[in-house]
Symmetry: C2
Subunit: 359 residues, 2 copies
């Protein structure tokens, strides 16, 4: 059976990958943030509109495709967030049981999404909190994966290059949609995998492009961005990730060194942003652009704001910011800035029309 | 500035409508449900992957486009669900204040999404519960809209044809993606607007198609489907909508008569399904297809199941079911069938690997 994905012409696209509709996400022009920064050509790549609500669907599609090829009869993962939800969905479609080892006290909403797809979640007391327990879980899982001759589907080249290759298509789509005339591409980074995938995609582009890939990190997990900016050869470990931005709290540098090197090859640099700036930008994206994204997605746009302040982009430059995940993933975070209390206020009919007479 | 939407070719699509990335949603083949019913060519149209998580974004894009043309300085709506979220997002992008009058005790999550986009919600005590209050609110709003020379953005042709025209593009996309060779298209219906839009889209298709548009309703709101099936000339009012499927609990028949007539013109008929069948199908879609949708979306597929049972479709027919909204909209509903209790179970490291040794 054919897989038809977002085809705008009178023809069928036949895809051999294992797809449930990921990729080919919209690229939309900024209406407020770009103009308010004096930028004429700012675009957002809406990865939040992937099937499970994040770019991780590209990873899961590629990874589950390889599992099916190798006839591995199950998927074993660790995640409390977007990767787990993506794997759960693709496993459901592939009819493969999915086991996700989740951190202690992982958010119930994210676990609920995995359960909806029928995944089995295994919460381990102390996992993600206690270093000894965390290391024991990871090393046990790595051994198990090795014994079964599979990769652990952690979304980093270091663990799972076959999955990360699926993510490189983001760059291809952006370059294609803008006729390769992209000057800057801003990507959020935790362990760097996404940014590295995008830089790889840009550097392997068949036709030349001068697209610079910039790496943006929260101050509390500044392993790559600062080092890239300051001309260091390698990423720098931080003793403890202190950012509160869900999804970017990553232990260790993971793909950090390669990310730094490949971004530099594109001419890109690093930007470091505060969590506060990120949450404010998340609110602005929803209220001024109509883009309901998770906080991690607002990191790229916060990096752009830094670049504008430093005059590192020109008003006429064509700029793309990656919106990595949906606001639905993270309902508590948008609520930081919204008056959810007003849910409780009830109007009478008279009061309603008194109010509406004033608008 | 250009709006680039899902373009798979090396060219730019310039759109004049007010877009934040709606439409051009994926059409994916069924892997489990179709084969398990003996069907070779079943597809799902993933309207849940629109920017705010439902097909209502097509409505909002068209409606807000007309508001902008008419220079109306605000948007006034009633909705406790998908329409409100869609309007809130498009108003945010258009920089128009959005006021949504919501029913008493509307779900907090849906209101939270509207707030995230900066909409002002106005909950009226008794609205949607007490008939007198409900009628008073509607007639007051209709007067207000008339005085301001705007339509009320209720997603029905009866109230807002300019918005509903935006929804007709679903049919165009499906026909284009499948080279017009579609035999059956199943659509869920509350007041019928979506089904009517799809039938209109099919009937106004420039090249001929034999696509039959079928109307599926829950038993508790069988205003159109039964009448269509039984050859009646008009929709039939039910004393009280008793379905629990959110979004399909509609007072009155709204677009019912026109929906019935236009479906019949396409050669389509009606199917009536139980809420229980719908919730089971919602679970199957998530667990077997990797499609996380709201219950209303599973109504179309439940209708298809009826058609298969009645031998009203052939194994080789090309069939499309509309998946109208996201599971994120309705987190409580998927949870009906998932073991959310297991969130609480915590494993020790030893127990984890004892368990994993068995997979």
């Amino acid at each position: 059976m054919k897989t038809v994905v977002h085809d705008k012409k009178n023809e069928i696209t036949i895809s051999s990958r294992f797809s449930i509709g990921e990729g080919h996400t919209p690229l939309i022009p900024s209406r407020f943030i770009g103009p308010s920064m004096g930028l004429k050509n700012l675009y957002f790549k809406l990865e939040n509109l992937n099937p499970t609500g994040s770019y991780k669907d590209r990873f899961a599609a590629a990874f589950i495709g390889t599992l099916l090829q190798k006839k591995v009869p199950f998927c074993l993962a660790t995640s409390s967030g977007n990767t787990g939800a993506a794997l759960a969905a693709y496993c459901a479609a592939a009819n493969i049981p999915c086991y996700v080892v989740v951190v202690d006290n992982a958010p119930a909403d994210k676990i609920r999404q995995m359960h909806a797809y029928g995944a089995k979640t295994l919460m381990v007391g102390g996992f993600g909190i206690n270093t000894g327990i965390t290391n024991a879980v990871f090393s046990g899982l790595e051994q198990l994966a090795k014994a079964k001759e599979v990769s652990l589907p952690i979304s980093a080249y270091r663990y799972c290059p076959e999955g990360m290759q699926g993510v490189e298509s983001i760059a291809e789509e952006v370059l294609r949609d803008l006729n390769r005339e992209v000057d800057h591409l801003f990507s959020p980074a935790g362990g760097g995998g996404l940014t590295l995938a995008v830089a790889n995609g840009v550097l392997s582009s068949v036709t030349p492009t001068s697209c610079r890939v910039h790496c943006v990190q929260p101050l509390g997990n500044n392993t790559i961005a600062g080092a890239l900016r300051n001309g260091l050869a390698n990423a720098v470990e931080v003793p403890r990730s202190t950012t509160t931005v869900s999804g970017l709290q990553v232990p260790g540098i993971l793909d950090g060194n390669e990310t730094l090197q490949r971004c530099r090859q594109t001419g890109g640099t690093g930007f470091v942003v505060t969590d506060e700036a990120v949450y404010n930008m998340q609110t602005t994206l929803a209220r001024k652009e109509g883009i309901f994204c998770e906080a991690a997605a607002a990191v790229s746009v916060s990096g752009l704001a830094e670049a504008v302040q430093n005059s590192e982009v020109e008003p006429d430059d064509t700029i793309v910011c990656l919106i990595t995940g949906s606001g639905f993933k993270d309902m508590n975070s948008p609520a930081r800035n919204t008056g959810t209390k007003s849910i409780e206020t009830k109007y009478s009919v008279d009061n309603l029309f008194q109010f509406l007479a004033t608008i």
